[in-house]
Subunit: 215 residues, 2 copies
């Protein structure tokens, strides 16, 4: 079912479609056309049809997509019907905020282990999870069947920690450290780099400011 | 100078190049070839040359890019030589964390105003900024020459707040609310949606788990 050629941008949009059809289902709306769904998500109907087309037929001829069916299919594709186990690497300010982030549970993810290098943090408990030393990573990953690691460590430690978790078999990383990680080809990294987002916005802010000169 | 056709993905990579050449400059390395820069950033040398080619000539024939010159040019393109004024919308837990986020200053941005709807928050001070009521947005944006707004409000309030700030002339939004904003065509929105990143990772985690079946 999971076609390897599905682009990441499509996966990202599936999540947006899921949010919309979840709203529609709450309102007891039964069908939605690709153009209506596109309108609600600022996308063209062609884009909607192409994205959903990767995953089969959700269409009800003439009246659009069946909302309930589409919602359940998207939940399955995005793993909402399962709980994936997550390890948190780094229990500093950001790590602590993530441990208490309610969204993880809502998104079908559970932080089952947390690690830090700082001996003062090891053994302490945050949001029901006991912080362990990073030497325990490999064993915990295997024991708990952890499939996602969240890297909330300083930039200088990120590559080393990434090596340890990927070496232990974790293939999906959410990286908050502002560095480009070198990982094996089978490993998927998502970077959440606030500095980079701000840099992009700064570029556009400056460009808008100077439109009078260049436009 | 700012060509309108530069893709956002290029801007995003400029930021990564800047990080690398800043490191190189610290090490007193004077030149770097496109292939070396590509290796350090996990990109092809063709990609590096294409990205930098949008902005002119940084090359020193035969020996690669001049590190110092490239660093200064990238800083200028990304606005690091200026301070841009930022408004924070929403002073809840996330907003408070952002107010104390050291990265803003480092990235050449300054949060000069913060707004919240909650009367209990209005008038209080966080990280040197006094929280004001949202009815004050338009006036403060104009008075302080604010060019970027950070939306750290609940999903249900995001569109309304976006309407107010874009109406006041702000053209760049960093949106933490998990909704797709409708904005005028001249407005640039960057979404930081942790739920979406997690959904994408979940998809890949599930795909990896089922590789035995599909591969």
């Amino acid at each position: 079912m999971a076609d390897k050629k599905v682009p990441e941008s499509t996966i990202s949009r599936l999540f947006i479609y899921l949010r919309e059809v979840t709203e529609l289902a709450k309102l007891n709306i039964r069908t939605i056309s690709s153009s209506e769904l596109g309108e609600r998500t600022n996308l063209s109907d062609a884009q909607v049809r192409k994205d959903l087309g990767y995953f089969g037929q959700f269409g009800v001829s003439g009246s659009g997509y069946a909302v309930k069916e589409l919602k359940e299919a998207l939940e399955k594709i995005l793993g909402r019907d399962k709980t994936l186990k997550v390890a948190l690497l780094g229990a500093g300010r950001l790590g602590a905020a993530l441990l208490s982030y309610a969204g993880f549970g809502k998104d079908g993810l559970e932080i089952v282990a947390a690690f830090d290098r700082d001996p003062r943090k090891i053994g302490k408990e945050t949001a029901g999870v006991t912080i362990q030393g990073i030497d325990r990573i490999a064993e915990e990953v295997r024991k708990n069947d952890i499939s996602i690691a969240v890297l909330a460590v300083p930039a200088g430690a990120a590559q080393e920690v990434a090596d340890v978790v990927t070496g232990a078999g974790v293939e999906c990383l959410l990286n908050f450290a502002p560095v480009s990680l070198n990982v094996p080809e089978n490993v998927k990294v998502k970077d959440v780099d606030l500095s980079r987002e701000l840099a992009i916005l700064s570029y556009f802010a400056l460009k808008n400011n100077s439109n009078g000169e260049t436009g």
